[in-house]
Point group: D2
Chain length 275, copies 4
């Protein structure tokens, strides 16, 4: 994954002509979890309307407690397929193990490996053998070097299409859920040819901080954003406090477009997927 | 796993009559990895002679880089079986995925889940369905609460025999590899009925600090120790710098016995396994 | 310092009509230390030319080792006065103790209290009794709550003109010197009426990361920047590796202006000081 | 402070024949703050009876909030003098600035520099010019290297009698107030000839963890302990939750004596002060 081996930046191609790692900034948005048909379709429509190009939502959810909502599983994947059909959005969703990987890879346009599994090497090797792009999230206390070595596990198995994601590291200040380390963006861009996006929702844990940190991430050079948006955050089954209201997300998109332009980039628009 | 549900401390019973979580302190020792028949037998003999009751060594090794030595796999397990046969030591070794779990559970007396997999919930659930005790290591930036919730995944599936292990959290001081958080011992003993042991080898990363920190762990109330010992640390394929020389381990055992006595406990001796 | 006591944001007025905490973004730039007349005048001219409005440079330097360069002391303050005379730039420089405070307050337009002294309460109380604005840097492992309580020490003594500064907290990744916590900006803006600026030079420790992180800070809503610029970084007596070359700073100013505009603010220009 | 300059361990001599850094383990105990004559005399008597040789208590208190109890100041010092007169205990108390240093140095047997002031270089230099031993506490996010460099400021000014103190670093787990880094003990003993003691009260923040961590510190080789004990912790003006009840401290002393013996040391006893 080092720039010493490949100086040119990797552009990860997505279905419909989008690329991550080029000029455009890709916005992936949606709820933490798929909760119901009604919820996911509402979420998909609203984020598409505001300009997102990828729908994010979990069917298999890694939760700290075994007694928390664990996601709808395969049924959730089917609902995501329906949302794609209806909106044309691409789908990114997480796989947590071999069985989940087999299911997710069939459906998703991008397969996510979560922060807790960043050093689950068996899963990384599986991800290296699929034909879909992989979104690899940084572990809660992983150095950039360790993140890149984990990506190396995927590339070493034959899959060059890896997108990294900064989502906050473990910090000491209870004012935020995690500590979003935006310096990871220039560090990764300096050391590696892989693209990197930022997740300001998990990175901060509070709705009010998502907007400034999303703009900051784009200004720092992030190749995309992963943002939690829920049609009714107050009733979300998980991560409600960090999910944007639809109107907040709409405003965010407008502001992010201005920031992207200020640094000579542009936000990819849904129309392009259809192209 | 909470003391509110079960006030009495859990005693995890091992083959041969040993228990973890009672009066005795269990010392598990051996090399980082199984490297060869000669190495593992030499290691087993030396740690048994000094008084260890469990042999530790990895056959499946989780390594940050895909290009590092990854362990001998199933062949390593067979060598561990031979070492047990010859020395009578019990075996603790790590499983990293479903396939590895199936292999390890057949052989090992205690199945280890490593720090990187502490929140690999699929693996935790598998561990909850086996009939062997599980050694669950604390993740690099996991709170005690998160460690206990991960243990809960195992108990919720039906396996009550979980031993926790403090092995150092991510710190900021390059003087040590990790920051061994010995306060985890009284915190766990206060909140949970599960036993907890300490790994001063990964916890410090330097041979010279293993001895004082091992004694400190026992003084703090640890129910056991997990210590890296190698017949020839300078030629170790992994973790050489933190592996004790056999004569250091011998001295450590003597000192640890004195500390255990000072707090009214005693170190379990190999003779008991045969009993 | 809480918004509950004073809902309206504090605007700290500087000589020459500038304010921190209003629409404009204030850029403070210059070398880590005053080293010589030639160096500081060259630095002042170059940062002014590129558009900075405040000159930063230390005369009294807090250094981890007693054997490192400790600054020119009072002689450094005189050189700063000369630089102000020649360029019209305002001056921000650090005071480390009662004696230094007496000297600095006579000369500087803004008195800096460094990260190491954020909880030096005697110094904070002194700063509360001066008539100049105070730039209070966040301690290396201070929570935002603790930063605000330290500011409270200054306000409680009668000085309402406090500007906070995020300059990176202690992180675990050696890829950066510190971990610049840009979420501090929205957190402070949410909890307090005080303005906050960012120091991407100490925040990252590497010249190449200063530019993206400076832009990110402005996008996140920072009320100003504190940037290290040296006429010849390779010969700097301190912090050379994180000091920008003059041409880099010039480019940074251009890019920061675009980011400021994108969020509806503007960078204060030197002309305003003369007004 | 490096062992390369002076291989032999420094023994800091205290009045009455005690030394820190030799065979004996010195226990310093007492309340967080001097609150009243009655309180400090009761505390002094009880800790002496249980076997402490040094009374700890603050007259000048560094508090995060300007609205918290700030200590009795000079009146507190006088009460400490009275406690010494009555019990024969030595006194350790903190100085926060030049003025406080002048007052404390007259009275105290050991002058403490607190964690918040570990990099207050002006104060360190003052401490280097006094004739009393200095207890230098590790800053909340200071590396051992930085702690040693701060000690170097004191030695460089001519005072060789410095005792270091590990009191917990900033951690991420809310289960403890700080993260007591006991590995600092062997690290310091390896790099430096200076003695080091541990403060398990600030290091954990919870009374119930003080006892196991105090024993662990001694087992790890600490040259002494600094423990908060209050005659009536529930009515303490500061740090009540981490202060031991007198009967707990009495038990602690008994257990610490056994640990010290197990590693070939012994706890210094009050009788020796009179000698």
């Amino acid at each position: 994954v080092s720039r010493e081996w490949k100086a040119e930046s990797t552009r990860v191609r997505l279905p419909g002509g989008l690329t991550i790692g080029g000029e455009e900034v890709i916005v992936m948005a949606g709820p933490c979890s798929v909760e119901s048909e009604r919820q996911i379709l509402a979420a998909a429509r609203t984020v598409r309307e505001s300009g997102a190009t990828v729908l994010r939502a979990g069917a298999f959810k890694p939760r700290s407690s075994p007694y928390s909502f664990q996601g709808l599983g395969r049924a959730g994947l089917e609902l995501l397929a329906r949302a794609r059909e209806e909106t044309g959005l691409l789908i990114v969703t997480e796989a947590m193990d071999a069985e989940g990987m087999a299911a997710v890879v069939e459906l998703a346009d991008i397969v996510q490996i979560g922060a807790r599994n960043m050093q689950n090497y068996s899963l990384l090797k599986l991800a290296g053998r699929i034909q879909k792009p992989v979104l690899l999230k940084r572990g809660l206390s992983a150095t950039i070097q360790e993140l890149l070595l984990s990506a190396e596990y995927i590339l070493a198995e034959g899959n060059p299409n890896v997108v990294l994601c900064e989502r906050g590291v473990r910090g000491f200040d209870p004012a935020t859920r995690n500590l979003l380390d935006l310096s990871a963006i220039p560090v990764v861009h300096g050391l590696s040819h892989l693209p990197i996006i930022a997740d300001p929702s998990h990175g901060t844990g509070h709705r009010d901080m998502v907007m400034p940190m999303a703009k900051a991430a784009v200004a720092a050079g992030a190749d995309g954003l992963l943002v939690e948006v829920h049609p009714t955050p107050d009733r979300a089954l998980s991560d409600g406090a960090q999910s944007l209201y639809p109107e907040q997300f709409d405003r965010l998109m407008k502001e992010v477009r201005l920031i992207a332009e200020a640094i000579g980039r542009r936000v990819a628009e849904p129309a392009e997927i259809r192209a």
